[in-house]
Structures are given as structure tokens and as C-alpha cells.
């Protein structure tokens, strides 16, 4: 089993889009995948997946109140996927978000143990191929805990100047220090024409900001933005040029 954490310096970079897209693509290819909403400050998967909820939330899981098998639900049938897709949801109530924010360092340390145990269970019991964490942006405990527990960290960044500079600092201060295997996905990169062709010089210009390997360069698309939250873009538009790019990104991530 391989685990990935999608993380970023700033919010709105497309972590949730990328993590759900990768989870769906792998399940479409026949793999067993589990997607976990670790953005406890602003959960998103609740709004995206209109499926029955599991017995407990991921908030309860990281608090040691339940086991991982009761915190995930099987979403395979909803999307008629050849593989398996399990989803775990964070509690999006204001009370729950406030509670997570107030947790102390000792609690965070305990929660790291529960995350590691859960990964072990997912590997042993469900024999998963991939676990994907969709984390909170910036230096949040839950995100760094997920990064620390995962095999690979994927930093999603945009061409925004502040995002690039913050991401570089995050790499220096956290990723290099923790010696995590890390790749970059450049998202919302300006592209021309309906075929979403990326100018190699534009892609190179942004890639050169980072010393880490670039897993994918995703063009900016208004279609994705307007459809965001309504449905899953890659399932609705399987032949769209962006879906081809997402597929090759999934290939690279698989081998990363």
C-alpha cells in the first residue's frame, strides 16, 4: 500500500480537486483506494460526495474514539468503479472545527499514533493499494501529521507569487527537515486554446522555482472552476484534454 498526502501552502490551490481526481482515476483503473478528508478546518468532501455517511467521523478517528473501518464508507457503487473507493469524512460543524483548533501538542502527538495505526489497518484488513489524504493548507498539525505518516507528500501550488514563495519555505522548513519524499503539482497554469496546450516555457518558468520533481502541470480551466462541487469533472468529461493530463499525472504519481 502507498499513501499520499496532498498539501499546499495556501488555500484554493486545488488540493481537493487533485486528491479526488487521483482517487477516482486509480479506482477507475481497478485499484483499491481510500480518500480521507484531513482538512479539519474546512472539510470539503462532505459537499462533494452525496453518499451515506459512515458511523463516525475522521475527527473521532484521530481522537482515538473509533477504528478506521467505522470511519470510512464504500463509495464504489455510486460511481460504478471497477476498483474500490472508500471515503472518510471530517466533521464540518463549527463546534467540531473549533474543537480541533483548540487541541494541544500532546493531543496532536496521540493523534499521530492513531493515524499510523489506521494506515496499518487499512493495509492489513482492506488490502488497499492507495490511501490519499486531502489536508489543510499551511502549517497545520493535522496536515503535518498526515505528511509524516504518508509515503509521499504532494505539494499543490499555483503560479501565484505568494504561493510559490510560501511553498518554497514550506519545503525548506518542513519537507526537507522531515526528509519526506515530495513532488510538486503546478496547478492553474495559464494555457492557450481549447486543447489546453501548455507553453513549455511557461511550465518551465514555474517549475524552475522548485528543486523538487514536478509530478504534473495542470492548465488553468474555467470549466473546472464553474463545475467545481457540482459533479466530478473527470467522470463527466472523460475525453477532456485536462483529464488526459490528470491521467498522466496519476501515472507519474503511481511510480513516484
Amino acid at each position: 500500500m502507498k499513501s499520499f498526502t496532498f498539501h499546499s501552502y495556501k488555500g484554493g490551490t486545488g488540493k481537493t480537486f487533485m486528491s479526488t481526481s487521483m482517487a477516482l482515476l486509480y479506482a477507475k483503473r481497478g485499484s483499491k483506494v481510500c480518500l480521507l478528508d484531513f482538512d479539519f478546518r474546512a472539510p470539503s468532501l462532505n459537499a462533494l460526495f452525496d453518499i451515506p455517511r459512515p458511523g463516525c467521523t475522521l475527527n473521532q478517528l484521530v481522537d482515538g474514539q473509533c477504528e478506521v473501518d467505522s470511519a470510512i464508507t464504500d463509495a464504489t457503487k455510486e460511481f460504478s468503479l471497477p476498483g474500490k473507493l472508500y471515503v472518510g469524512f471530517a466533521d464540518s460543524s463549527t463546534e467540531a472545527i473549533g474543537e480541533v483548533t483548540a487541541k494541544d501538542r500532546k493531543w496532536q502527538m496521540k493523534s499521530l499514533r492513531f493515524i499510523n495505526r489506521s494506515l496499518q489497518t487499512l493495509s492489513d484488513k482492506l488490502e488497499l493499494d492507495y490511501v490519499i489524504f486531502d489536508s489543510s493548507p499551511g502549517f497545520q498539525y493535522s496536515s503535518i501529521n498526515a505528511v509524516l505518516s504518508s509515503d509521499v507528500a504532494v505539494l499543490v501550488t499555483t503560479p501565484d507569487k505568494a504561493d510559490i514563495s510560501g511553498t518554497s519555505e514550506l519545503i525548506r522548513g518542513v519537507y526537507e527537515t522531515l526528509e519526506r519524499r515530495t513532488g510538486i503539482i503546478l496547478n492553474k497554469v495559464p494555457a492557450g486554446g481549447p486543447s489546453m496546450n501548455l507553453d513549455p516555457r511557461t511550465a518551465e518558468k514555474f517549475s524552475s522555482n522548485f528543486k523538487l520533481p514536478i509530478i504534473g502541470v495542470i492548465p488553468c480551466s474555467c470549466e473546472i472552476v464553474t463545475q467545481s462541487g457540482e459533479s466530478f469533472f473527470l467522470l463527466e468529461h472523460p475525453d477532456h484534454p485536462i483529464v488526459n493530463i490528470l491521467n498522466s499525472t496519476a501515472d507519474k504519481l503511481e511510480k513516484f
Partner: protein, 120 residues
């Protein structure tokens, strides 16, 4: 006869407990001496410090590597940590004892082995 065996069993358990306590103190003393004799105040200040990600990031590289192995395991002996880090057992033993002195890690003896763990 049964009563006598019961008394003997209790005595042996008492001896075992005292011996374990003695060995624990003995190990602590060695670690304290090896780390440059920090004062009682310093040790008490550091007692039960949480080994969270922020602390991990602030540790020197050599200790962080050791601590990160323990973050993933419930408990481990120096040999097991050395297998994960690729460093010598004696080196890991020294680092683990240093983390103990700093209050981030605890240890307990099981037979001949000393197990290191993070109290959560």
C-alpha cells in the same frame, strides 16, 4: 503446602518488581552521566515533553531521525531502530538515551531488552 507456594510466589513477584525498578534507575543514571550530568531542575523541566511534529522539527538532525522511527512504532529496542535508520546499534542506543534524558522518550526493561517508547 499450597499456602506456602502462594507466599513464595508473592515474594518472587515483589523481588521481580524491585529488580525492575533498580534496573530502570540504573539505566537512568547511566544516561544522565553519559549526557553531561544535567541538573535535577533541568531533568524535571523536560519531563514528559510531548514529541509532536513541532518538536521533531526543532530537534537536531541526528536525534530527529531516531525520534521519527519511534513516532511510527509503539515501542522499539535500539536494534530495531538501528535497522530502520541504517546506523549502528550503539549509536542508536546513545541517541535513544539522549531523547530519554530530554524527556521525549521513555524506556522500560522486558527481560534483557530495553524498550523505548513515546508516552502518549
Amino acid at each position: 503446602m499450597i499456602a506456602l507456594l502462594g507466599r513464595m510466589d508473592n515474594s518472587l513477584k515483589r523481588i521481580d518488581r524491585r529488580l525492575s525498578e533498580f534496573l530502570r534507575k540504573h539505566d537512568d543514571l547511566i544516561a544522565t552521566l553519559a549526557s553531561g550530568k544535567p541538573s535535577r531542575v533541568q531533568i524535571d523541566d523536560l519531563k514528559d515533553s510531548p514529541l509532536d511534529v513541532v518538536t521533531l522539527l526543532s530537534l537536531p538532525d541526528h536525534l530527529r531521525k531516531t525520534a521519527m522511527v519511534l513516532c511510527k512504532e509503539d515501542e522499539a529496542i535500539a536494534d530495531q531502530v538501528a535497522n530502520k535508520t541504517g546506523r549502528a546499534r550503539a549509536v542508536e542506543s546513545g541517541y535513544l538515551n539522549q531523547l530519554c534524558t530530554m524527556g521525549y522518550v521513555k524506556k522500560k526493561r522486558k527481560g534483557r531488552d530495553v524498550y523505548f517508547y513515546i508516552e502518549r
